[in-house]
């Protein structure tokens, strides 16, 4: 099941690209990576957008949590009102969940396609679809500069590039939490720490796994960097539009001073005192709008 659904299609895709691209396995991996990223692009974009948005409204989320800690129903209502759905956290992880079967499948596919042992080559034959003529493709070229693609890079170059490219990608994908009190916002603290742990972990993988897989990591990271730059532009534009339309998406009701104080304190810590001022000036407008909406209902 695993082989016929994941590994064998990957093996055949890699061989197809290898044949198409003049028997260059690096190019085959690169094009394969682009195809995989294109397939998962809608999910990735959604995840990133959701992550950036959640991070942006984190102070409001915390304020609501503080205020309605004893009233989960109301808390959900307020979450809905600011456009935050906790369930999105789970769906947002879907692209990551999809990445792991791809990684594991690709690891196995690279090992089998490179046919670096007689047994792996012997096992390759029945996996190849009849549309692909395997004979002229064997042996798959496993050399790339100083590297043997079926072994880890002995000079640490690929692990370092994997670490650096993933770090840049993480940096671009993670919204800035500058100014946020990390004690108040453990999620932000965790996200910050992920900026280092993820690249370190994948750098470590590259020390252990075939260089071909590291090439996949690097290609995926480079695409991720461009994707991150694009997402930043979009979110910056959206932020600017929201600011132009007037104010924050959520303020605490004036009748609850305690909650209001918490929200204000939280907003201040997130945005600095200047931001807090602009928020308080816009808060009355938003409250008025809400009251009007309630009256209509």
């Amino acid at each position: 099941m695993w082989d016929s659904l994941i590994v064998n299609p990957m093996i055949n895709a890699l061989l197809f690209f290898y044949d198409l691209l003049g028997n260059n396995f690096i190019l085959a991996i690169a094009v394969f990576t682009v195809v995989i990223r294109l397939i998962t692009l809608p999910l990735n974009m959604r995840q990133q957008r959701s992550m950036m948005r959640t991070q942006e409204i984190q102070p409001q989320i915390q304020a609501i949590q503080k205020k309605y800690r004893d009233n989960p129903q109301k808390m959900q209502e307020e979450f809905r009102r600011i456009g935050y759905n906790p369930a999105d956290t789970l769906t947002g992880c879907l692209p990551t969940l999809i990445q792991f079967p791809i990684l594991i499948g690709l690891y196995q596919a690279i090992i089998i396609v490179l046919g670096s042992t007689p047994q792996s080559l012997f096992e390759l034959v029945p996996r190849v679809y009849s549309a692909i003529n395997l004979t002229p493709l064997i042996p798959v070229s496993n050399k790339f500069f100083w590297m043997n693609l079926s072994q880890p890079d002995p000079f640490f170059v690929l692990p370092i590039v994997v670490f650096a490219s993933m770090f840049i990608q993480q940096k671009l994908l993670t919204p800035s939490t500058k100014g946020q009190n990390q004690q108040d916002n453990p999620a932000a603290a965790m996200t910050q720490s992920m900026q280092y742990t993820m690249p370190l972990m994948f750098g470590f993988f590259s020390l252990q796994f075939p260089a071909g897989l590291s090439i996949y990591f690097i290609m995926a990271n480079i695409i991720g960097i461009f994707q991150g730059l694009y997402m930043r532009r979009i979110t910056d534009r959206e932020k600017a539009e929201r600011a132009a339309n007037g104010g924050t998406p959520y303020v605490i009701d004036a009748d609850d001073e305690k909650g209001s104080k918490a929200a204000t304190k939280s907003s201040q810590s997130a945005n600095g005192s200047g931001a807090a001022k602009s928020k308080s000036s816009s808060s009355s407008q938003t409250t008025t709008k809400r009251k009007k909406r309630s009256a209509k209902r």
Binding site: Q62, Q65, F100, L103, I104, T117, I138, Q151, F209
Partner: protein, 384 residues
């Protein structure tokens, strides 16, 4: 508490995913796919088996194990069929990982004293000549050892101390054992080429490129060199020039080396067919289908051809089958509980031995004439 639960859900989920990913990535296939089928060889009396973590010598006459190496199994794997000549056994390994944080792999070539001691003496170990797996069985000729490596090199080592005499780089990995006659080495490479090298200097005498990868050993006939190829043919080359004289077709990749006997060439393809062709002209004599996949070489003794095969069903198994060399009719067949992927060897007058890699048996001896099982050897519990 509830206040922390929701913001933490996402990072916690991330960590969970990563942990599962690490577990899968590290557990599913190990560090490098360092597995292969067992390497089996003989010097005519003893049988040698490189079966993964260890190499052993077995005496079928007394049905006793002569030695096993290393004494304690390590992370390093051995699959190249050992070469035993003049009191020493030479073989290579698949490489040793450099450590937790080091990607460097060290590949070694070993020479052991071939005495009847439980733990053989290490005569020399060369850990610098090769950088990738030793798949090919080495060849010992006089004071030289010739080893093909998966990093595309053909190495000539001094048999006394393991130092490198010369080194020739081919276009791709060498998986087949070199052949030798009159001071010349004939080597097949996965780069589709046959190389003829001067055995003393490594100088290239000729090189012939064929239509597919060459995984097996080149076999010397009277005047021709026979080469099995993934292009679905056995090619006959002029020994002196490397010029292709004829090509005999098969039904798929021809992996194992052909067998030459009494003016006939016998060869098998991975689709499970056995073929016999005239050694001079390449004219087909007969073809027989076995129904199994074959990547081993045929073994011919007298008027019988023996072939080891694998049945790739839901429960992989194998078979050793005997055919008449005259017309390919089956004489007997013995099923085995594990696939037979190593070419069998003949020891003494009446025994053919197969090598396996399972707990039931590592070696099984069959009667050449009847196919009756004579003995089997499995690793004692204490050595597991």
């Amino acid at each position: 508490m509830q206040q922390l639960r929701r913001p933490l859900r996402r990072p916690a989920l991330w960590l969970l995913i990563i942990a599962v990913g690490v577990m899968f990535l590290t557990a599913c296939s190990g560090r490098i796919a360092n597995t292969n089928w067992a390497g089996l060889s003989t010097d005519g009396s003893l049988v040698y088996l490189a079966f993964g973590p260890r190499v052993l010598a077995y005496d079928p006459a007394t049905q006793t194990r002569q030695w096993i190496y290393p004494a304690e199994a390590d992370t390093v794997q051995f699959y190249s069929a050992p070469s035993a000549e003049e009191g020493q056994v030479v073989f290579g390994d698949y490489g040793r990982a450099g450590g937790f944080l080091s990607p460097r792999v060290t590949v070694s070539i070993y020479a052991l004293g071939n005495a009847n001691t439980n733990t053989p003496k290490e005569l020399w170990i060369n850990s610098s000549a090769a950088t990738d797996r030793i798949v090919a069985p080495p060849l010992q000729v006089g004071d030289q050892v010739y080893v093909g490596t998966a990093d595309n090199h053909i190495l000539a080592l001094n048999a006394k101390d393991g130092s490198v005499t010369w080194d020739y780089e081919a276009g791709h990995a060498i998986w087949g054992k070199p052949s030798f006659r009159d001071g010349i080495l004939y080597i097949n490479s996965m780069d589709w080429s046959v190389y003829a090298l001067h055995a003393d200097t490594g100088e290239l005498l000729w090189k012939t490129r064929l239509g597919g990868a060459l995984a097996g050993q080149a076999v010397l006939g009277d005047d021709l060199l026979y080469v099995s190829s993934f292009d679905g043919n056995v090619h006959a080359l002029e020994i002196a020039s490397g010029e292709v004289k004829w090509s005999a077709p098969a039904s798929g990749w021809v992996w194992g080396a052909p067998a030459f006997a009494d003016g006939v060439i016998y060869y098998s393809d991975i689709e499970g067919n056995i073929h016999a062709a005239d050694a001079e002209s390449g004219a087909q004599r007969w073809t027989q289908s076995t129904g199994n996949r074959i990547q081993t070489a045929p073994v011919v003794v007298g008027d019988t051809l023996y072939i080891a095969s694998q049945n790739g069903g839901a429960t992989p198994s194998g078979a050793l089958t005997a055919y008449s060399t005259a017309d390919g009719t089956q004489k007997w067949s013995q099923p085995t509980s594990a696939p037979l992927l190593a070419t069998p060897v003949v020891v003494g007058e009446k025994t053919i031995v197969v090598g396996l890699q399972n707990a039931d048996a590592l070696l099984i001896g069959f009667d050449l004439a009847t196919g009756q099982e004579l003995w089997r050897y499995s690793l004692p519990e204490s050595d597991n």
